[in-house]
Point group: C2
Chain length 121, copies 2
């Protein structure tokens, strides 16, 4: 998974899905539920992180730009550089809602929210 070598760092989707995700403070915030693919452009649109009902309501699914997820081998999971408060206030929805309208609504919102570099023009 190293990216320091400039290599491509191939990873199978079935190994990504189910992996734990931690916030900047080291707290486990949930796990990767799915990866949304952008068929037209050959890109990874976003990862879907399930936050296990920490809002005290039904589980919400947070789209996160793939580039915001850093795999940390010692942790055995992905770490994102955001606080719990930032993540709680982030766009989220039911999992089936995230890909409505070809996914562009949530794609645009979350790349802006997390200030992630866009892969599209």
């Amino acid at each position: 998974m190293s990216t320091a070598t400039g290599h491509t760092s191939a990873i199978r989707a079935t190994k990504v899905i189910g992996t734990d995700v931690y916030n900047a403070g080291g707290d486990k915030i949930g796990k990767i539920e799915d990866v949304v693919l952008d068929k037209t452009s050959n890109n990874i649109m976003f990862a879907v992180v399930g936050f296990g009902g920490f809002l005290g309501m039904n589980e919400k699914y947070h789209p996160l730009p793939w580039s915001t997820l850093d795999f940390v081998p010692d942790r055995g999971g992905y770490v994102v550089g955001f606080t719990k408060e930032q993540l709680e206030a982030a766009p989220s929805d039911g999992i089936d809602q995230l890909t409505k309208g070809d996914g562009m609504g949530y794609r645009d919102r979350v790349y802006d929210y997390y200030d992630a570099p866009r892969y599209w023009q």
Copy 2:
């Protein structure tokens, strides 16, 4: 899944995996076993299609560039524009071998073999 509109055509990896794949002649050749992601460039490196032992040996896994797979709703699966003979002669290996060396070995071989446009420079 339409790409005619210029939309992004978002699709979840968990829905791609397990979908049947048909060749140019309409024969079912296998199903999608996994999708290999290119962590560094945010691209889809290739799909992994499991060919259920049609060589009379252990099942082999064929990497196919994502762009070669067209989803056909009436068929309920992906159709590739290759003959059975082309597919049988294509690069394949055990699934764990496909991502060795950051996946670049098989990536380069199959984009060349299927004459698919490269997403990298």
